[in-house]
Symmetry: C2
Subunit: 342 residues, 2 copies
DNA sequence: CTGAAAGCGCTAACAA
DNA sequence: TTGTTAGCGCTTTCAG
């Protein structure tokens, strides 16, 4: 790997000049610029990012922190990652997915090591220990999600409050008055206190009460089995429940089965709405599930922007960005092509 | 952030001594070791990883490359990532998921920049351009997957050949003689040439022929819709097909629906086997799908080990590690707990 | 407009 | 057993 000094020698200039043309830091005459560029090309000069990072005290790498345990790499998570990475790349940064202990114990080395310029957190819990750590460490960061009180933190998040209101509006518009909510039970796991669950449950209870309606909350176990049991538990608690929200993709199939096992036809007798999920998740079912689709890509981009603005000193205050899920009815999808061969 | 020099001053030793105790590079008397450690503690010394990397010419970071487009972040992918990261961490490395262009165009900066010591590739295609690039760049790497000819490359992979044989054995044991295979069609996408598909299809055709049986291959479109159409196409081509392999999680639900819509009962009339999938994917269905579960965690660990052995100079040749998927019957799962609240 | 030179914080010979 | 010191490859004043 050619070094900058070698390029300088070859071009007959000083290393500083090479640095200037590489970074566009200072004006260099077209003539010398050309010579330098030729030399770079001939030597296949790439530049040592580590050296640059040491000298400039920035790596232009940002880390998206992903909990090493209790992980749920959903399609939406993947959208966050891909879209944030893309945005970062457009703005001259690399974004990588970095596995860290959810308790934040290993955050120190990552960050104090100077390996990353900033960090975006996801899978945020109400009282997320990583937030404290990061603040102490004094590293720029942004959340995808919110802690209990995020007013002085930069964040982007799904607007769960609006999402739930919209969901209930939708079901109510369909004539339903008795609602159910199926959630995952994270108590006792490292992801206990997962903010989306708590916000959704809270909003659900409050909104149902405000509507003078009936609401039942049920926690489902894993997989289809968990969904079937949830259906039973739901119907036990309220045999007349007819509008159901599910926030647990892997159990929704089971939920549907459980409902029909109990003699409820979907969507004739009971309506099921999958929330904060991805479009493709809803497409896996038949009939397709109506879904409140999470705005994963946009949130990922916003998160990257918020952090990079901060890093580049272009930030005006702490951005707070909330976007609700949008309703996607079961029908609004084009058929996909299928072909057969012998 | 305290520097090593500051620690040295405080401990009344030279910077070299501090370096020795930090890295365990040389013997230092317990007494001075203690003084140095005290100083480090008092100053909250963490060490600048960038500086260390520049001086030692290694970052102790390895990148798991993930295609920026055509991405399929399946549960198995996630297992690769998490288990490889864990293993790397045990061995003193950080593993991060790095999004790169599937054509390998942006590999240069990543690698020549000296930011990572090595690379593990996944989602490998038969003729993967990234492999060439990486070889040219002369960076240590390992594959999770195989190109067409990987004999001189270090790799770990699912043993698709054995997996398919085992699958057919299983179905044949159940009395089936007419087989079907449902795959995804990746032609025309950036993931065209995806090795697992090609290997599976090839092995399927050959093995079915060798068994003197009938085999039909069908390509499914996206989601449940794609699965239903695949069922139709399959039954059109061979109305008596009774043993079906699916390698497309998001369509398997649709496939089941399509089969029963055509009057086939599963598993009474036709058996369905999901291959190279994760256990949780099979659990989403009801009844649970019998699954050939991909050994994701073990492969991830092996891949990390193979690369790190190489980096640490502990490698003996090019490891070639193949592991088949293992059959997990639909019944072999314990029920998960479910609880209800008012 | 270009060059000299002083670091960035740490590693690893080589000395002592 | 510990210290001295020359880099690692690049950025960035400050002169000229």
């Amino acid at each position: 790997m050619a070094t900058m000094q070698q390029v300088a020698d070859r071009a007959g200039v000083s290393i500083a000049t090479v640095s200037f043309v590489v970074n566009g830091t200072k004006y260099v005459t077209p003539a010398t610029t050309a010579r330098v560029e030729a030399a770079m090309r001939e030597l296949k000069f790439r530049g040592n990012l580590v050296a640059r990072a040491l000298a400039s005290r920035r790596t232009r790498i940002i880390a998206l922190l992903f909990p090493t345990v209790g992980n749920r790499f959903s399609p939406t998570t993947s959208e966050f990652f891909m879209s944030a990475a893309e945005r970062a790349s457009q703005r001259g940064y690399h974004l990588v997915l970095w596995p860290v202990d959810p308790a934040g114990e290993d955050l120190d080395d990552l960050v104090s090591g100077g390996l990353v310029d900033g960090v975006v957190l996801m899978e945020v819990r109400m009282d997320d220990p990583r937030v404290r750590k990061l603040s102490e460490l004094d590293v720029p960061f942004t959340l995808i999600g919110r802690t209990r009180d995020s007013s002085d933190l930069p964040f982007v998040d799904i607007d769960f409050e609006t999402t739930i209101e919209d969901s209930l509006d939708h079901l109510q518009g369909l004539g339903h008055r008795r609602f159910g909510l199926v959630l995952e039970n994270l108590e006792g796991t490292p992801m206990a206190g997962y903010a989306p669950h708590l916000r959704v449950e809270d909003t659900f209870r409050r909104s149902v009460a405000a509507r003078g309606a009936v609401g039942t909350v049920v926690y489902a176990g894993a997989g289809s089995e968990g969904g079937r049991e949830a259906a039973r538990a739901l119907l036990d608690a309220d045999p007349e429940v007819s509008g159901v929200l599910v926030m647990k993709d892997d159990s929704s199939a089971g939920l549907l089965v459980g409902l029909s096992a109990a003699g409820r036809r979907v969507p004739d007798d009971v309506s099921v709405l999958s929330i904060a999920s991805s479009g493709t998740a809803g497409d896996q079912h038949h009939p397709r599930l109506t879904t409140m689709v999470a705005p994963g890509r946009e949130l990922g981009e916003r998160a990257a922007d918020a952090l990079i603005d901060q890093l580049d000193g272009a930030s005006e205050g702490k951005p707070h960005f909330l976007l609700p899920c949008v309703l996607r009815p079961a029908e609004s999808v084009a058929a996909a092509p299928t072909g057969a061969t012998a």
